[in-house]
Amino acid sequence: MFNTASLIQPSIKKTFIHRIDPRAKITFLLCASILAVSLDKPKSLFILFMVAISSCIFAKLPWDKVGLLAIFVILGMWGTMFSQALFYAGHPRTIIFVLISSKTPILGAITDGLYVYREGFIHGAVQALRFSSMICLGLLTCWTTEPRDLLTGLVKLKIPYNFAFMTITALRFIPTVLTETKTVIAVERLKGFKPTKVGIFSSLKTAVSTLRPILANSVRRASTLALSIESRAFNPTAPRSHLRDLRYKFSDFLITGGAISGSLAVATIKIMYLLYINEIFYSSSLRHIYQLAGKVL
């Protein structure tokens, strides 16, 4: 069983990944998200995914976190690839496996046949690699950075303090909310209620009765927290000083510079390519670029 508190909290070690400045990590994450959206070839997305996985390996994450990450990645990949392979609607499409033939009595007529399509499988792989890369990098950022450094990093990146504070505080309360959810489910069971009962009405009833106490408790907690911070002279619009500071190292400059220039370059190439294939703009001097975008990116 996973310990929710330890899964949320960062595990601070002395690896290269841990030592990267939070601003560089956040910038890298943003650039990776640009890349994940811009790239659409399985090979290039696979490289992005491998970068994410390698970073996780270098960070020497504890086994429980690796386990959770593996569950997210495997379930995400399997779910996306399989569903896309089954329900791919684009053309052309090549059948690689027949689950239900359209000639099968009754079921065949109802479903019009159920097939696994090669193109759907590839399309699913592209989506899954995007999703998995971002999950790995997002969790890696949270798991290798102290929340206080993440807060300072966000503030230094000119994110409004209110927003940064809310984000980090929400992270801090996730284990509490998960523990409370477990308690509510136990309460429901002990009152003879089966949360696992299937059916739309049952699912709705389960959701409402489970969420009500959790939300009510969260609102009460938020209200106490608000009183507590207001009692300590917090004013969202007033300027404030900061005890902690962050220092950018040479390696951080390299990571930030590389990530920004790489993602900008890919995004620019893809835009030029889109302009070309939509017959909006073409320059013969950019032929190599179009080729790169069409085959690799």
Partner: protein, 564 residues
């Protein structure tokens, strides 16, 4: 003057309410005073406290009349940042008011809001942590601290702003005896050594009265008593009427008709010994007052060599527990936070399964059943009743279980349970809109409407008035017996009053037996951070054995009073 406070004809009405919560309060507090503010749930104590540091009216909405001045600063017109430097506010639950992961950041927060320089912030953190005795833990993770330590961090986080008044809203209610003592020691030290004015809202008068210089009692938005501590207990009618628990020595002396009002055991013992020497009391001889044991039925819970840890390599939370509970038995689980009380309770409801060993509840191995299958037989009331309120009306709560279990006459069972908890008139109300006491009683009603044979209560007395505790326990544990109840508590008096058997836990069971036999083992009590009740200490000093409740001591001493 630094640390002074004056309130003039204060009235406050919350938005959307017709009646005011505060109804014309006048109060003046001098620098260095230690004021204990008490009263029943919902009387307006917390609201009054919020007016002291400007949360009311600046952040609350509602209508405020009258003036509140702290160190001469009118909270109505002053900026929040200025008021915060005068009054530091600490709340009930340390987990809800702390948001940082590291102590240093939490304490720095207020100073950063005041826009101080790095050096000043650094010095402020050091000073504040030194005042609460946590200087060495500056870089510690807040998640690793005990409840008492967290509350001390909360105090340090406001002390950093160097307020001269400290306003604390039930800061002990969520703490075990050790944590409560840690926090009280810090508050007392700040009051005595730093001359900080303390205004402390608390139900646990019996634990704090001896530290306070003045006691205020509120009821329905008004101050009904404002006296120096020495004179506050001259008459106990007000405290009795409002269901407030007074220190045992005072209750004892009042019942005996003595004029003295001792706040501590030491004072009480000296006074009684004086009276014996002066011929007002007969010389005390040992009196043995064994309680009659309840008639018990068949075994309903059996635990054999049960151990449990939350993860494979984690520390054992329960170690080699052997336990037998019989029908009609009332068992109290006692011990510090983290001693395994709640974990054991969850095992009895089959929510947790032992890592090794075996637990049988109503002859069913809990490893082989789900909590769902125990629903009609075992009822659990969790520490936080809010997590038990699943429906949109009080009636819906009471009907939830019986309907799911398809019980016959569900309506009748629900009605009976609500009446038993004195909330029959609130049937159509939303449970979320009720007071904490009413919410707890709604949660209890939702359990007893299923008529479970075994009732498990996790800290049922936390944050409750004496009257609410007594009402609830009287229903759950009728004098003629019949119901099997297991409850976790830190409250020694509740355990002694209601339990047949006490289990003292420290991962495993370190003592088990009748309240009398357990509370006579001083080494066990020390290990579990428990203390026998005041009446026991007074009786023992006077040479009386086996007296644990104030009523027992009162009866014994009444027989010894000589006519004059």
């Amino acid at each position: 003057m630094r640390g002074s406070l004056s309130i003039d004809n204060l009235k406050f009405t919350y938005t959307g309410r017709e009646k005011p919560t505060i109804k014309g309060i006048n109060l003046s507090v001098q620098p260095g005073e230690f004021v204990l503010l008490t009263g029943p749930t919902g009387c307006g104590k917390s609201t009054l406290l919020k007016t002291l540091n400007g949360i009311i009216p600046h952040q609350s909405g509602g209508k405020m009349e009258g003036t509140v001045k702290v160190n001469g600063l009118d909270t109505n017109t002053a900026e929040m940042q200025d008021i915060c430097k005068q009054v530091g506010m600490v709340f009930q639950s340390p987990d809800d008011q702390l948001f940082s992961t590291v102590i240093e950041d939490e304490v720095a927060f207020g100073l950063e809001n005041l826009c101080l320089g790095k050096n000043e912030i650094d010095r402020g953190i050091d000073l504040a942590l030194r005042k609460v005795g946590m200087k060495n833990l500056r870089q510690a993770q807040i998640g690793t601290l005990s409840g008492g330590q967290k509350q001390r961090v909360a105090i340090a986080s406001v002390l950093a702003m160097e307020p001269r008044i400290l306003a604390l809203d039930e800061p002990l209610s969520q703490l075990d005896p050790v944590g409560a003592k840690e926090v009280l020691d810090v508050i007392k030290r700040l009051n005595v050594e730093q001359n900080i004015t303390v205004i402390l809202v608390e139900h646990r008068i019996h634990e704090i009265a001896h530290m306070a210089s003045r006691i205020l009692v509120m009821d329905e938005g008004k101050l009904v008593l404002d006296k120096p501590t020495g004179k506050a207990f001259a008459k106990l009618e007000i405290f009795e009427k409002l269901g407030l628990r007074v220190p045992e020595p005072i209750k004892l002396f009042c019942a005996l008709g003595f004029s003295e009002r001792p706040l501590t055991n030491k004072q009480a013992i000296e006074t009684v010994q004086d009276r014996i020497e002066n011929g007002f009391l007969k010389k005390i001889t040992s009196v043995n007052r064994d309680r009659l044991p309840r008639r018990l039925g068949n075994e309903v819970v059996s635990a054999k060599d049960v151990s449990f840890s939350y993860s494979k390599k984690g520390e054992c939370v329960l170690k080699n527990i052997d336990l037998s509970i019989r029908e009609g038995e009332v068992v109290a689980l006692m011990g510090s936070n983290g001693s395994g009380k709640t974990t054991l309770l969850l095992h009895l409801a089959a929510i947790l399964k032992p890592s090794s060993g075996r637990i049988e509840v109503f002859n069913a191995d809990t490893c082989k059943i789900s909590p769902y299958s125990l629903a009609s037989q075992v009822g659990v009331v969790f520490q936080n009743p809010d997590l038990m309120l699943l429906s949109d009306t009080v009636w819906g709560e009471a009907m939830f279980g019986p309907q799911n279990l398809h019980l016959e006459k569900a309506d009748e069972l629900a009605r009976q349970s609500l009446e038993a908890m004195s909330i029959g008139k609130l049937m159509t109300d939303s449970p979320l809109a009720l007071s904490r006491g009413q919410r707890l009683r709604t949660a209890v009603a939702s359990i007893i409407s299923m008529q479970p044979k075994l009732i498990l209560l996790d800290e049922p007395t936390t944050g409750q008035d004496r009257i609410h505790i007594e009402e609830m326990m009287a229903y759950l544990i009728p004098k003629d017996g019949g119901k099997t109840v297991v409850f976790c508590t830190h409250d020694v008096q509740t355990a002694i009053r209601y339990a047949d058997t006490i289990l003292v836990m420290d991962k495993g069971v370190i003592a088990q037996g009748s309240p009398e036999s357990v509370f006579e083992q001083e080494d066990i009590l020390r290990r579990a951070n428990l203390s026998a009740p005041d009446s026991y200490h007074i009786a023992k000093k006077l040479g009386l054995e086996s007296i644990f409740m104030v009523e027992e001591l009162e009866d014994t001493l009444k027989c010894l009073i000589l006519p004059h």
